[in-house]
């Protein structure tokens, strides 16, 4: 069974192309940013948002695994964590490039930078845990428990801890004043980009879940955790 039909692929491809075009050629550079650097927001923010979404999915599927004990849930959680890490790395890299332009250094231990690295560590540890357990049911149970306990600490990493140190990073969407200032064209491209990236993620996620499941079925058939 195909995850996404031909029509879907065409729509997704065209959408991404339009967003790319708009990000670089349609939107105007925002004020308060150095040169053309504000354009990176169109990629930086969606990747950050998607990694948060992916980690949320990982936690939800982990909880459902513990409830239903269906291995499919475990596949879904593992795939979500993997993709979350991927997008988290992308957010870090784009942020780092951004930082080079805005703050003149790729890495300066800004709380925002550090907390995202911590997220990477949490889910890196999650994958490390999975790799260290051979028996499938045990792996699923233990890693689900870890994913949930880790998710408890995520809000602290994302919101509470960075506040303990002064940060240069712009306020987030969820800020005190409600909305931040964006000109209409930027706003349009920004939200289109968010939608396009989310759709891209949904497709990748479905593919990854399917692949994970197939790999698991295959290894169930051939076995092989004895040695």
């Amino acid at each position: 069974m195909q995850v996404l039909g031909t029509a879907g692929k065409v729509v997704l491809g065209l959408g991404m192309a339009v967003v790319l075009w708009a990000a670089f050629l349609y939107a105007h550079p925002a004020e308060s940013f150095v040169g053309e650097s504000s354009r990176i927001v169109f990629f930086h923010v969606p990747t950050a948002w998607i990694s948060a979404l992916a980690f949320l999915l990982a936690a939800i599927h982990s909880g459902l695994y513990l409830k239903t004990r269906k291995m499919e849930r475990d596949d879904a959680a593992a795939a979500a964590a993997r993709l979350g890490i991927l997008f988290c790395v992308l957010a870090t890299v784009t942020g780092s490039l951004f930082a080079k332009v805005m703050w003149n250094s790729y890495w300066n231990w800004d709380p925002r930078q550090t907390s995202i690295v911590l997220l990477l560590l949490v889910y890196g540890a999650y994958l490390g845990l999975r790799q260290a357990i051979e028996e499938p049911e045990r792996r699923a149970t233990l890693s689900a428990a870890y994913a949930l306990i880790a998710f408890v600490s995520v809000p602290f990493l994302m919101f509470a801890v960075p506040r303990m140190y002064a940060s240069l990073h712009p306020d987030t969407v969820i800020n005190a004043r409600g909305r931040i200032e964006m000109s209409p064209d930027i706003k349009l491209v920004f939200f289109s980009s968010m939608i396009a990236f989310t759709a891209l993620f949904a497709w990748m996620y479905a593919l990854d879940v399917k692949a994970t499941r197939l790999v698991r079925r295959l290894s169930e058939r051939t076995g092989g955790f004895e040695a």
Partner: protein, 207 residues
């Protein structure tokens, strides 16, 4: 209570160790499990104890009065007694402290006399072992203590995996006595390589 196994099997990786098997224990009766070394006796007993998940099928406890009632073995702490080569007691505690600990966590407060009686019932001398740590006991003394542990909670089902290993003649008699006592209280599953012990069984499953 009856311990009911339905189409139970267990594999490690691609290799099926045993099953699918279906059987039930009956109060007052001893179910023997026989088979050569490596045939899966220990694995079966662990699955019955809820310490290992079956690869397929189910194990449950059924109230003798109400057939069809089901309690998962994993939830039935106290109803199952287990003695096996894989069982270890706390090496740094004395024999009496070990039994006391396991009684306490199960919610009882045994007196000193009770504990010493338990220890004596498997042929150990409670006075001489009063201050010796379990890890300094001889293999056979340790095996006897494990037997005493397994019937500590007066379990409805007693799972014995090679109960006679490393025991001398008096030790073997203690095993026979424990099996006889358990018949009056519930059922026994007895996995062993020893033909003399297997003779205690009423029914037999051969792996």
């Amino acid at each position: 209570m009856r311990l009911v196994a339905e189409n139970v099997s267990r594999s490690f990786g691609p290799r099926r160790v045993f099953g699918p098997l279906s059987f039930a224990t009956e109060p007052g009766r001893v179910l023997g499990v026989a088979g050569a070394n490596g045939s899966g006796k220990t694995t079966l007993v662990k699955v019955l104890a809820g310490l290992l998940r079956p690869s397929a099928g189910s194990v449950r406890l059924e109230d003798a009065g109400r057939p069809g009632s089901r309690i998962g073995v994993r939830e039935a702490a106290g109803a199952i007694g287990w003695c096996a080569p894989d069982l270890s007691l706390y090496g740094e505690l004395t024999p009496a402290e070990n039994l006391e600990f396991f009684a306490r966590v199960a919610g009882r407060l045994p007196t000193r006399e009770e504990l010493e009686e338990r220890i004596a019932s498997v042929g150990l001398d409670p006075r001489r072992l009063r201050s010796i740590r379990t890890r300094f006991l001889s293999t056979g003394q340790r095996q006897r203590l494990k037997l005493a542990y397994s019937v500590l909670s007066s379990p409805a089902v007693l799972l014995l995996d090679e109960p006679g290993s490393n025991l001398d003649e008096a030790g073997h008699r203690a095993v026979t006595a424990i099996v006889a006592e358990q018949r009056g209280r519930g059922s026994v599953v007895l996995a062993t390589n020893d033909p003399a012990e297997l003779a205690l069984a009423d029914e037999r499953v051969t792996l």
